[in-house]
């Protein structure tokens, strides 16, 4: 069937809106609309009119719709965001709470006496406007002679000893051991724009004063950090043992944290020889890629795990990311891509037999970035973008897409240069400009026209993402170190420096209802990436790792987990552990043989 004129196409479009056209008619209409710009514009207007009329009619029926809904959800509650990813956790054998309650009471009393005898903590004034901010929940809690060790959601679940490394020993609660190892910095006035201190780039920043005093060294107490990592990892492993049951989700917006847990476990020394890790890994590989966050994390996990063995899966993930790039270069939550699903994948080998059982090899603080030995990449796989994504996305999905693309690049996946350039342009376009900073400063969740002010998590994510794209382009174009001279990136670091804090996600966050701890741990992990990817030992004059670690140790809960407003305890614990372990690999590990000719 062919359509001779635009009028034919418009009649057919009208029929399509009425009853739908199928077969040849649909093909002909689709082809015509794809080729004829005026008809596409007309179709847009007709669909808009269709939408207005449909909404007009539906508005009169909203009460009926709500009434019908009420009948189906009345008396029910949303699923708890639990480790099983949608199914409320059922503890198989419920043990008595009595010993735990008794232990907690004894511990509480001891901790209370210790807290009472210690001098009152000083509030660190490293936040602009901290004077009128909501009190820091931890600091606030410690003013009380008796601490409130319980999480807001009630007492923590006793850890399941079966798969984990054993029950937690409550008296080793890190908070009691936290000692300020050095005097806290004196109160400072509202920080001025500061130069960025790079470990390898002295005096490279064009703006801001040239000289700053060396920051006071804050030493994180080593034993306490080790304890924190040990207890936190134990908590995470306990939860990991319960993950992986339900697999149906809501596509790209399915926020089950399986991949984030795997990513964190991987950086905690847990590998394929661990039964729970392998079970989650296998489920991940067998699952259809549906969303940007999870696909990006999958690529990162596989590249970190074994970029040669898993290269075909990494290419599949890269294909998904390319096919979900929005027209403006950002990423949104993503939709399954047929081109990724059609990838030919080898059969997954059997689980490596554990030699002497599961081992957690790394409990020392802060494993050195890039310390896991990487196999040499011998083959390259080129991928190309096969379909267009939606018009625009958001900076949260986009920052994870950047991490995934960096991992794919390091695994020998050849990414189309235009995708990388467009992605980088989107970050530059989204940088917020204001009367105060016309050249640009930080980032928010949407683009520049989003009308929101810059804030910490998005700015840190942007700084890391721009560095990644500079790095990929350098490798492709035979250059070096562009990320050290990127003006937008440097202005982003300057924003982070001026607004530096590790006690909240700085700036007015979006969707956070004004809570300063909204997506707090997500921010800290973004800060770790921003700093590591840019080779920063300090951000401005702030020792981000020492301060961040200290803040994390103060906030860790009795059971080893962390939680703030926004993400939930499982993702938050992952973000906190990733920060403490300095999980990001610096931009120096370019595998041999993948440089584009």
């Amino acid at each position: 069937m062919s359509l001779r004129t635009c009028d034919d196409a418009r009649v057919l479009l009208s029929d399509h809106l009425l009853d739908g056209v199928e077969g040849d008619g649909a093909d002909a209409l689709g082809s015509h609309l794809a080729a004829c710009s005026p008809c596409r514009t007309h179709a847009g207007e007709i669909f808009l009119q269709d939408r207005i009329l449909a909404e007009m009619g539906a508005r009169a029926r909203v009460d009926a719709m709500v009434g019908r809904l009420r009948g189906s959800i009345g008396g029910t509650k949303p699923l708890a965001l639990t480790a099983s990813g949608g199914t409320p956790v059922v503890v198989p054998r419920r043990r008595s709470w009595l010993p735990w309650v008794a232990a907690a009471a004894i511990f509480g009393a001891v901790a209370g006496v210790v807290a009472y005898l210690q001098p009152a903590p000083r509030v660190r004034p490293d936040v602009a406007g901290a004077g009128n901010a909501t009190p820091d929940p931890v600091t606030h809690a410690r003013k009380s002679p008796l601490p409130k060790p319980d999480a807001p959601q009630g007492p923590p679940l006793p850890p399941d000893p079966a798969p984990g490394p054993g029950p937690l020993v409550l008296p080793e609660k890190p908070r009691v051991d936290v000692k300020d190892p050095s005097p806290k910095p004196a109160p400072q006035p509202l920080p001025e724009p500061e130069p960025v201190k790079r470990a390898d780039l002295p005096g490279a920043v064009a703006q801001g004063p040239a000289v700053h005093a060396v920051p006071p060294v804050i030493e994180v107490p080593r034993r306490t950090l080790d304890d924190s990592l040990r207890v936190g990892t134990a908590w995470l492993r306990g939860r990991a043992s319960m993950l992986g049951a339900a697999q149906s989700g809501t596509g790209g917006r399915d926020m089950r944290p399986d991949e984030l847990v795997l990513w964190t476990l991987l950086h905690s020394g847990v590998g394929e020889d661990d039964p729970d890790f392998y079970r989650l890994l296998k489920a991940m590989l067998e699952r259809k890629l549906e969303g940007t966050y999870r696909a990006a994390l999958q690529v990162m996990i596989l590249e970190e795990l074994d970029r040669v063995k898993y290269q075909p899966w990494i290419a599949r993930g890269a294909q998904f990311l390319l096919d979900n790039q929005c027209r403006n270069g950002q990423w949104s939550y993503g939709d399954p891509s047929l081109f990724a699903e059609e990838a030919t994948l080898p059969t997954l080998a059997a689980r490596p037999s554990p030699a002497g059982g599961s081992k957690v090899k790394v409990f020392e603080a802060a494993s050195a970035p890039g310390s896991r030995p990487k196999p040499r990449v011998v083959a390259r796989i080129a991928v190309r973008k096969m379909r267009e994504g939606p018009e625009s996305g958001d900076n949260s999905n986009s920052m994870y897409a950047a991490l995934g693309l960096r991992a794919a690049h390091d695994a020998g996946i050849l990414l189309p240069p235009e995708v990388i350039q467009l992605a980088q342009k989107a970050w530059r376009d989204a940088q917020i400009r204001s009367a105060v900073a016309p050249a640009g400063e930080g980032w928010c969740y949407g683009g520049r026209s989003h009308g929101h002010k810059a804030y910490g998590s998005m700015t840190a994510g942007a700084v890391g993402s721009l560095a990644i794209y500079d790095y990929i382009r350098d490798n492709d174009e035979g250059k070096r170190g562009s990320w050290k001279r990127d003006a937008e990136l440097l202005r982003g670091i300057d924003w982070l420096s001026r607004n530096f804090t590790v006690t909240e996600n700085p700036g007015p966050t979006e969707h956070g209802d004004g809570k300063p701890d909204h997506m707090y741990y997500y921010y800290l992990y973004a800060l770790e990436r921003a700093a590591t990817l840019n080779g920063l030992e300090t951000i401005g004059k702030h020792d981000w790792y020492a301060r961040g670690s200290q803040a994390l140790l103060e906030r860790q809960r009795l059971d080893g987990s962390w939680v703030a407003t926004g993400a939930g305890e499982l993702p938050d614990t992952c973000f906190a552990l990733l920060f403490l372990r300095k999980a990001t690999r610096a931009l120096v590990d370019v595998p041999t043989g993948i440089r584009r000719k």
Partner: protein, 190 residues
């Protein structure tokens, strides 16, 4: 008369969702209510059937309520609902044995903004033009869009044949579009 379906502020929505996450269905209803017309229109555009779209909206609302704790606060509630509705509508479309979704990119563009459609005077202009249209054409538009009457039933109701009804609705659409354009000062050529 029920509550308003006009868009509530983002802050109110955030508060309602927070309450709903704690198990308050009434807060969920209040947060959802302003988005229902858009969800219905979107579902109908994808699945191509009025009654199936109503079911899609119900399913979407149930899934959204059940999975509300999976909605991260950074995310846009309307966009999240729309993503669920899209999946359900595509599934409904498959059940109806409709295979090809024509002009999907156009649909997505038209529904990209989750705010109620017809802002900037277009909605009022369309309502006035529908009033002005009158006669069988206006009856056909109202029956199709507001009551979900199928083509064959509409033909019987208007004592006509289905092809004539298709032609009538096609002309009505063009007339409405032309009228709205003139009222908005965009020129009348369609």
């Amino acid at each position: 008369m029920g509550k308003s379906t006009s868009r509530i502020s983002l802050d109110s929505e955030t508060r309602l969702i927070a309450a709903a996450k704690g198990g308050d269905p009434a807060s969920f209803e209040d947060a959802l209510r302003p988005h229902l017309p858009m969800l219905f229109a979107y579902a109908r555009a994808i699945c191509g059937d009025y009654h199936a779209a109503e079911d899609v909206v119900q399913e979407t609302a149930q899934i959204a309520y059940r999975k509300l704790n999976f909605l991260i606060p950074e995310a846009d509630f309307a966009g999240w609902l729309k993503a669920i509705a899209r999946r359900q509508a595509l599934a409904a479309r498959r059940k109806l044995q409709k295979t090809t979704l024509v002009a999907e990119d156009v649909i997505e563009r038209v529904y990209q903004d989750s705010e109620p459609a017809g802002q900037g005077g277009r909605g009022e202009a369309l309502a006035e033009c529908l009033q002005k249209l009158g006669g069988r054409a206006a009856d056909a538009v109202r029956a199709h869009y507001f009551d979900g009457v199928k083509t064959d039933d509409l033909a019987a109701r208007l004592d006509s044949k289905p092809p004539a009804i298709r032609q009538l609705l096609h002309r009505a659409r063009l007339l409405l579009l032309d009228c709205v354009r003139r009222r908005l000062g965009l020129g009348g050529a369609v």
